[in-house]
Structures are given as structure tokens and as C-alpha cells.
């Protein structure tokens, strides 16, 4: 299986002498649905930033579709939902306008969106079930619906890799389950590689093929069913160390 993501012997810290991640080796095949879990402060978001090329390893290598992540030629095909995704703009911004921003890299920077881009935006909105509120300001919608709008924005880029960093933060339990179901459908229908990063993986445990537990290094990598019972609460990774 060709690899979407390949980390080999990666070490990283934000300051000299600091090690947020150490000796991390991880391969994620194209089309896989993988959850990356671990306690807060365990290095999950840093790992994501390395995968996305926003940081460069101090040691080892981070490859994205076989190219160094920080200068990957396929960046336009990355769908990214940042931790606590929220609207940057102050003006009332509709769901359609938010999702249209997802076509910026792939659709070109200049001039208005082309017909195909507009069709992809509408398709992404429909896929996450927001067609009826497409022209409503995002801030008038619930947290779960806003999260779906940002997922639609990521989908509008026709991503080969969809990365979600703590997508359930601030979202109620019902919306978390609904989000997990949506991601499972997207994975089945589109075959997109999904990297789901969260300190709580319970919502997606039934859907993901692999679970990777991170606490500075990878402490578990396998099917969720193989996870030792004591680790079902990822905070137990602390106890083990």
C-alpha cells in the first residue's frame, strides 16, 4: 500500500534541548482511517504539525506522499481541520463562503470561483448535510454544525488526506457521534485517508482501522480491539510510564 504519511525516527522540540517527540516512526497508508490519541501535552498536535509540514523534524524525516512534508507538491490536496476551528473573519460569513475558502489553493488565487469549483463547494456542503443552511451565517449555527462546515471546507479541496485535530473539542456528545458517523461515510464513499487526532477516541473507536497512542513516542499502534483494557482511557499512558 503506498504511504500517505511516513515518519522515520522523528525527534522534535520547540526549544533547544526540549523533546516533545522522540524516536517516532509511523507509516499511514493511502485510504487508511487512523486515530491518533494520547494525553494532553503528549505531542499529538506537534505530530500533526510535522505531518503537515508546518514544523520540520530536528532528527529523522517526515514525508508526505513520498516528499518532504514541508515542501510537498500535494499540499493543495490536504484537508485540515485545526484544533478549535473557528471563523477568523469578523464579518457575518455564510457556510457557503466558509466552504468556498477550501477551494483557494486548488482553484487558484485570482478572480472569482469557476463553475467546477462552485459545484464542488455545493457538493461538499450537501455531503455534510448543511445544504439547507448553506446561505446562513456560520455563527448562527450550533457548534456541531459549524464543525461540519469546516469539514466541508476541507472536503471542497478534494483532499487525498484529511487531518482533524481535536475535532470534538467543545462539541456535545450527540454531535461527536454524528461527526464520527459522517467521517466513516466519507471514508467509505471517497476512500480518503483520514487522520483523526484526539485525546478521546471513543467516538471513532468503532470506525478506525488503526489506533496510535502517542506520549512523546508511540506507545501503541494497532487495531483498537488489540488495545489493552487499561489503556482505553489514554490518560493511563501516564501511569504506565
Amino acid at each position: 500500500m503506498p504511504l500517505a504519511v511516513e515518519l522515520e525516527g522523528v525527534a522534535f522540540g520547540y526549544r533547544p534541548g526540549q523533546r516533545v517527540l522522540e524516536d517516532v516512526s509511523l507509516g499511514i497508508g493511502e485510504g487508511e482511517f487512523v486515530a491518533i490519541a494520547g494525553p494532553n501535552g503528549g505531542g499529538k498536535t506537534t505530530l500533526v504539525r510535522l505531518v503537515l509540514g508546518l514544523e520540520r523534524p530536528m532528527q529523522g524525516s517526515a514525508l508526505l506522499f513520498d516528499e518532504p512534508a514541508h515542501r510537498s507538491s500535494r499540499r493543495h490536496a490536504l484537508g485540515y481541520l485545526a484544533q478549535r476551528s473557528e471563523l477568523g473573519a469578523d464579518a457575518p460569513t455564510t457556510v457557503r463562503e466558509v466552504v468556498s475558502a477550501g477551494r483557494l489553493a486548488a482553484g487558484g488565487l485570482l478572480g472569482p470561483l469557476r463553475k467546477r469549483d462552485r459545484a464542488l463547494v455545493s457538493e461538499a456542503i450537501a455531503r455534510v448535510g448543511l445544504a439547507e443552511v448553506a446561505d446562513r451565517p456560520l455563527r448562527t449555527l450550533s457548534g456541531g454544525m459549524q464543525q461540519r462546515a469546516f469539514i466541508a471546507k476541507a472536503l471542497a479541496a478534494e483532499p487525498s488526506l484529511l487531518v482533524l485535530d481535536e475535532p470534538t473539542t467543545g462539541v456535545d456528545a450527540e454531535s461527536q457521534e454524528s461527526l464520527a458517523g459522517l467521517l466513516d461515510r466519507l471514508h467509505s464513499d471517497l476512500g480518503v485517508t483520514i487522520l483523526y487526532v484526539s485525546h478521546e477516541f471513543g467516538a471513532v473507536e468503532g470506525f478506525v482501522q488503526r489506533l496510535v497512542l502517542v506520549r512523546r513516542t508511540i506507545v501503541f499502534d494497532g487495531p483498537p480491539g488489540d488495545l489493552p483494557g487499561v489503556w482505553h482511557d489514554p490518560s493511563h499512558v501516564h501511569a504506565r510510564e
Binding site: L54, R75, A82, S85, L87, A91, V98, A101, L104, P112
Partner: protein, 265 residues
Amino acid sequence: MLESEFMRLALAAGAVVGILAPAVGFFLVQRRQSLIGDGIGHVAFAGVAAGLLLDVAPVLTALVAAVVGGVAIEVLRSRGGTAADQALALVFYTGIALGVVLVSAAGALDVGLYQYLFGSILTVTRGDVALVAILGAVGLATVGLLYRAFAGISIDEEGARVAGVPIGALNIALAALAAVTVALSMRVVGILLVAALMVLPVSAAALVAWSMRSTFVLSLAIGLGSALAGLTISYYADAPPGGTIVLVAAGTYVVALAGRVIRGR
């Protein structure tokens, strides 16, 4: 009023600036950089002073200083590890201090400065209006071309960065556009009030609009309306045009806010 050529010229220049200032200011407000216009204005003051000292057209030196200052603010903000407000403060105060020293050296620390600080739209010439129209058209065309890119990075900068959108280049383009707008608006509302015309119409529009695009279009309409209404009022009331234009824009904000409060009840 329209039989006077100076008013026809003033209205033409005011119309261009009334549209361009909120068109550029719209994206500064969305990116929470509302005060950048003010910072650039202070650097433009140093440019005016340099022009007076060197006996070069102050508008041209102000344009150069504003572009350099605008780009410097952006570079300091994004690469220097300097917080946005500190970068602004650094450029802000250096600009005004340099301006005062240069103006003093030029022996021009007198009422002649007033026209640059608060505008002197009633003294614009046909040549001034032509310059404002040409640079204004170029500025508006650039905004039109880059509207989607500026809107996209305002909505989700981190997502755009991950997707490989050249955020740094777009931020510098926006800073340069803001600098051109400040230099062009100098004769209309003055260095000290230009930021108001970039921000107030946008803030007023956001109170009543229903989408990003409608906010943009409404802010242009409010900017244009404020410029034309302000000039008309200043003509009949014999009031300073720059200040009157900004007061009309501020009044529009208050009306929009009141409308929103009443609607919300």
C-alpha cells in the same frame, strides 16, 4: 455647489477614496489589523516631512514612506517574533517622531502641515484627481482580483497555510494596498483620520449585513455615501471636510448599531 469646479474635483476625489478606503480596510478589519492604517498614516507623515525637507512633492514621498512602513509592519509582525501591537507601536512612534524632526528641520512646522494632517480636499487640482483616479482604479482592480484570496485567508489562515497558499505574499500585498490607500486619502481626510474611513464603514456594514460579500458591498456604499455627504455638509456648513466625512461615517455606525439593538428587541 456643483457649479464650483473645486467642489466637482473634491467630490470626484472623495468618491474614489470613499470606495477604496473601505475596500482595503474591509480585509484589515477581518484580519483584526484595524489600526494598521493608523500606523501607516504616521509613517506617511514622515514621508510628507521628507518631501518638505527635500522639496519633492510630499504626496510622492508619503506614498514611498507608507509602502515601506506598511511592508515593515507586516514583516515585523510575521517574521520578527514581534507581537502585532508592538510592531505597530514601533513603526507608529518612529514615524511620527521622524516626521516631527524632519518637518522642524525643513522649517515647515506651521499651519501648512494642517492640510496633510487633516486633509485639504477643497484645494485638489485636476492633476491630483487624475492621480487619485488612476491609483484608485489600480487599487480597486487589485482588490477585485484578490478578493477571494484575501477573504479565504481571513476565514481560516491556518488551513490556507497548510494548503500551501502564499500567506506571507498576500499579507504584504494587503499592507502595500493599505499604504497606497493612506497616501491617496491624505488629501481627502488627512493622515490622522484616514484609518477611520478604512474601518468605520466596515464596522457599520457588519452590523446589518448577512454575509461576507454583502458586508463588503455595503461598506463600499457607506464609504462612498460618507464621503459625498460629508463634503456636501462641509460645503454648506463651512466645516472641515475631512473631519465631517469621518463624522458622517461614525454617525452611520451609530445608526446601524441602534438599528441592530432595536431589531434585537
